[in-house]
């Protein structure tokens, strides 16, 4: 275990050294991490609960109070604090987005690896399924699916319905990407060597294919996360979210429904929009940079860092004879 730990530490340090240099990547990471922190420690960021109604001295609800009157972001139509809703909404948006993203990534990787590695009729079958999903327009399909699943009395939270529907529909691009990468890797000689050694399919996929495409999967996951969050917001805006657990999309839906715009209550509809942009932009920046960095063809050369240099097996005798020849 000790050597593994050393290797792991070395890899992480190497990664950080390259990552640190990239400004866009750092900005992306900060955006995403800050949103995740706010979501995890939501109660620490607000003294209220999202359902608390803020009242004035006379006990009347402060409706549509601008930021100058109450709190950093004012109140909504029912007198609830917008900042609190935003902070708690981060939990829902990010959780749904991440869960759906991971499901999509998992299915996509599974399909991509299976299709690419086994090839032939397996490949054809899986890729035709992918093609079919790829050509159906996403939004109408999702609307229909979410609506039907809710009608079915499955006794699951509407948020889980969203997670499942988004997760089951957004794996197609990942599958295609990973399949193409697996196709090139499986023809490489170290895979032939592993087969010549006598390794089975499971061993080859685990030890040779997966480590090569893992960076691609990681980078792609981050990009899929942004799509998932965006799609969740879209669906929630159309009223398919859970009204009892409002996400940012649900907030926009409320604001739209309750005429925040005609009332000029910009503090109700702008913040959730910015929050969505904040997270998705962070994910896209981070994902692009990761993709660029982890691409094996763009990694640094082995002679760049001195600590990677290898001494010749017989350094003394070689340098000895070399200097003689020169003199």
């Amino acid at each position: 275990m000790n050597e593994r730990w050393i290797l792991f530490k070395r890899n992480v340090t190497d990664f950080w050294r390259t990552f640190r240099r990239n400004k866009l990547g750092l900005i992306g990471a900060v955006l995403v991490l800050s949103a995740v922190l706010v979501a995890v420690f939501a109660p620490a960021f607000s003294p209220y609960k999202p359902t608390d109604v803020i009242r004035d001295e006379n006990g009347r609800g402060l409706t549509f109070a601008p930021p100058s009157v109450h709190g950093p972001l004012g109140t909504d139509d029912a007198g609830r604090d917008v900042w609190t809703q935003l902070v708690y909404g981060a939990r829902i948006s990010i959780m749904v987005g991440f869960l759906a993203g991971f499901i999509a990534m998992f299915i996509g990787s599974l399909f991509g690896i299976t299709a690419g590695y086994y090839g032939g009729s397996v490949d054809t079958l899986l890729m035709r399924i992918t093609d079919i999903l790829l050509v159906i327009p996403d939004l109408p399909l999702m609307l229909v699916l979410v609506a039907t699943m809710r009608q079915m009395d499955l006794h699951i939270s509407p948020l889980i319905v969203l997670v499942i529907v988004i997760g089951l529909l957004y794996w197609t691009s990942t599958a295609r990407l990973i399949r193409s990468q697996v196709l090139t890797i499986k023809e490489r000689q170290f895979v032939a060597r592993a087969r010549a050694i006598g390794a089975g399919h499971a061993h080859i996929i685990r030890k040779h294919i997966l480590p090569q495409i893992m960076p691609l999967i990681v980078a792609n996951t981050v990009l899929i996360l942004s799509t998932a969050i965006l799609v969740e917001s879209g669906l929630a805006f159309l009223g398919l979210g859970d009204p009892t657990q409002p996400s940012w999309g649900t907030m926009l839906n409320f604001a739209f429904d309750r005429s925040a715009i005609t009332n000029g209550a910009w503090w109700f509809y702008l913040p959730p929009g910015f929050a969505i942009v904040w997270v998705t932009l962070g994910c896209v920046l981070l994902g692009n940079v990761l993709e660029e960095m982890l691409n094996p063809r763009l990694t640094e050369h082995h002679l760049e860092g001195e600590q990677h240099m290898v001494s010749l097996p017989d350094a003394q005798s070689l340098s000895g004879s070399g200097s003689e020849a020169v003199s």
Partner: protein
Amino acid sequence: MTQHDLLEVRDLYKYFPIHQSILDMLRRKPPNYVKAVDGVSFSLARGEVLAIVGESGCGKTTIARTLIGLEEQTDGEILFQGECVGAQERRLRAGLAPLESAGTVGTREHLALPRIALKRLRQQAQMIFQDPYESLNPRSTIFEIVAEPLVVHGLSRSRGERAARVKKALEDAGLRPAEDFSMRYPHELSGGQRQRVVIAGAMVLQPELLIADEPVSMLDVSIRAEILNLLNDLRRQSGVSIVFITHDLGTVGFFADRLAVMYLGRIVESGPVKEVVANPSHPYTKALLSVVPVPNPRLRRERVILQGETPNAADVPNGCRFHPRCPVVMEKCKETDPEYKTVGDGHQAACWLI
């Protein structure tokens, strides 16, 4: 039980089908094949080194890949310690007749032979690939790479034992001290060191047979001798048999016992190295030998420069397959294929001039 050679190859054929267009299928054109290996027989005794020499594209690498089971032979038998390699049986059972053009081979005699499972074969026969830059997984450490055969075959399960075997294999392959290398990644090593890692990985199972597919052709000239010396040492120490595939006749005399010269999918001349080099019988062998550099500059030989290119393996010439380029071609060569004739002790060649 009779004493078997370690490896015996009888009438090995490997044809790759050429993809046909739908139009050709509708016209019922017979499918075309690239005849990469077209009737090759040889045998290898224990501890022997057989060099297979030939131009690029003559089917050397295909033979190597078929021997280790990476490709399935189209026809013919590969016997490893008297046991059949490959999925021929399945092929015949499925009713796939041997290729028509293969002619005389394809008897069902070998169905009776005991068969060796691929997994067991690959424990006893190992392959060294041509390109040391490609044959190591860039994301595995040297230790993982060398230990992989042990892991795959479930040998030396205890950590200490496995580490000891890997260490021994690395040091036997000239990577000393092994601790300096085991935690590195392939990209941190030079080409020669990588090829040593490949050799260590092949030798860690203590195989009976090593198939070396041009192990030095991708390396710098200065490192070639080191790797060849290493292979020679390993062979002396462990008594491993080696099928040494190369296009460089110069390295053959160095440590091979026997030599087989291939041209366009077939062995044209084979025999003990000294005998073949001293007394080449086939015009192709003569041409190859005449262009090997001689250390003594005063010693000038007449060079035979072959005209033209190697014909396409999908379109093998009639008669002797060497006749379009042969400097001493006769009418007979264009019509009938010569049989193997014994020239000396264990020395055979296929040419009408003998």
